[in-house]
Amino acid sequence: MTQQQTAGPPSAGHADLAEEFLDRQTPLSRIRNILHRYPAVSPALVLLISVVVFGLLNDRFLRVENLSLITQQVSVVGTLAIAQTLIILTAGIDLSVGAVMILSSMVMAQLAVNNGVPAPIALLAGLVVGLAAGALNGFLVTRFRLPPFIVTLGTLNIFIALTLLYSNGATVRGSAMPPLLTWTGTTFPVGPVRISTGVVVMLLLYIAIAFILGKTAWGRHVYAVGDDKEAARLAGIAVSKVLMSVYLAAGAVLAVGAWIQIGRTNAASPNAGVDLNLDSITAVVIGGTSLFGGRGSVWGTLLGALIVGVFRNGLSLAGLDVLYQTLAVGVLIILAVSIDQWIRKVKS
């Protein structure tokens, strides 16, 4: 019997293991393993290098006012990208994030301005809209087992139509709104700089979601579901429940994004931010989160959003046309996905 072979003593097992590790450790594969374990490392490096380069190109770039401006510019996309990260971690994608945010912001603004609803209740209504939109997406994905891409492509159009129907296409100005709604647009001084409240709200959201994803069982289940649905199910995880809760959480985050958007633009406009969908996906992808699910972090996403912001701001300070900014973002996306594919080869 060729197969029969007495299993060696434990020491033989150790030798085998050592062998395996020996032929695995080339310098390149070591870098790959590090990137694999800490997916936020590569976007952090890109951000650092781009800040240094743009700082050298233009001395206005590194001024605190400019850096504060960049954070304000990314506050809305950065918040939508949190929701997008949650969905993409489950191997889904959400094309409706921008539309949900706009619908939620229109509900907040209209209820407060046209219907005279108290501001806190208007905000809560916006949150309910976000949750309802998330519930609809989650329901269609889990119950009818439709691909998230198709579901959110459909709901994207539904939410845009609902927004226009509800608002009659009219923009609500910030000056007409109660102060609570535009509070996210206020700034406060920290030393020499003025920090936007909306940026602080976004950062608090990042901290909260990073904690939940990294330190709770729910977070681990989100990764497990995105990694391998069947394996998660066999491990006793209620996959549909996890997916549903992810879409609900994303909806809640989008409602906060709606609030930040009102403050940032000092208005609620039904026509704003349709391109925010793709910008949020861009931030997630550049941040090292895998579109195939199960790998990535919200900190990477924050870095991704900042990288896009830094590129746009830096290139325009360098006097380049806006078209070149878009071109640069396109190159970044393809680079980021290529790196992700390379990192995933660790599997072999």
């Binding site: 299993a7 069982a217 998660a232 790998r295």
Partner: protein, 264 residues
């Protein structure tokens, strides 16, 4: 005890840990199981073999709660049980390692061992903030691996996808065997593995048995079956054709019984 069921050598009144009596399962007009009985005793490796469509998978699914038998009884330690879903079987200590390796590749070894039964920190951090006790789970994972004698997994913080096929199988087996389980069911554990890795897994099966944990092993690989099994349950056409031992029969005999060319 019916005459077709051989008692393991040297036991008189040992209570089977898992018993199945006259399981019947039909799928429309197709009879998957036609009155199958099975006993699993503590500290034995019971192999289940059979041709494709003989009812191996259906039998296992009924034992592990993935399918509900139409009629028939299941008993765990003598107590009748009814499994409606895999979680029910797991609650009774029956853990299954599925053919397609139910591990999450991107999570580390410790997270995989605790997947679906994570432990939280003590105090407010755990109860209010639901914070995981990562350190504690890693320590327990290491202890559990040592207890099970799994030496191929040195570092519990390594993502599973960085491991070899045999090591991944070891993770899956460890999860099934850990945390007070009573029965480990392995579905084709060596099907996707090379020779050396297969031997690691077979050694793992022996180690589990030597620690008193009974193992049900489904395999197509006759040399592997005859290598580790104490008893061999042969399924044929939805029935148990025979239960033999590697001592009483040869591989050729087993194949003959499997294909209907001979009877036990």
């Amino acid at each position: 005890m019916t005459s077709t069921h051989l008692e393991p050598a040297g036991t008189q009144v040992r209570q089977p840990i898992l018993q199945a009596r006259n399981l019947v399962k039909t799928f429309g007009r197709v009879v998957g199981l036609d009155g199958v009985s099975l006993d699993l005793y503590p500290g034995e490796v019971l192999a289940i073999i059979g041709d494709n469509g003989a009812g191996k998978s259906t039998l296992i699914k009924c034992l592990t709660g993935a399918e509900i038998p139409d009629t028939g009884e299941l008993m765990v330690s003598g107590q009748p049980v009814h499994f409606k879903r895999p979680q029910d079987a797991r609650a009774h200590g029956i853990e299954t390692v599925y053919q397609n390796l139910a591990v999450s590749p991107a999570l580390d070894v410790a997270s995989n061992l605790f997947l679906g039964r994570e432990e939280r920190r003590a105090g407010l951090l755990g109860s209010v903030f639901r914070m995981l006790d990562t350190k504690g789970m890693r320590t327990k994972a290491r202890q559990e691996l040592t207890r099970l004698g799994i030496s191929t997994l040195q570092d519990v913080t390594v993502p599973v996808e960085n491991l070899s096929g045999g090591q991944r199988q070891a993770v899956a087996v460890a999860r099934a065997a850990a945390f007070g389980s009573k029965v480990v069911v392995l579905d084709e554990p060596t099907a996707a593995l090379g020779v050396r890795e297969s031997n690691q897994v077979l050694q793992l099966v022996r180690d589990l048995r030597d620690r008193g944990l009974p193992v049900i092993l489904i395999s197509h690989n006759m040399p592997h079956v005859f290598d580790v099994a104490d008893r061999i349950h042969i399924q044929r056409l939805g029935k148990c054709a025979a239960t033999i031992t590697p001592q009483s029969h040869t591989m050729t005999d087993a194949v003959a019984i499997m294909t209907g060319a001979a009877t036990a």
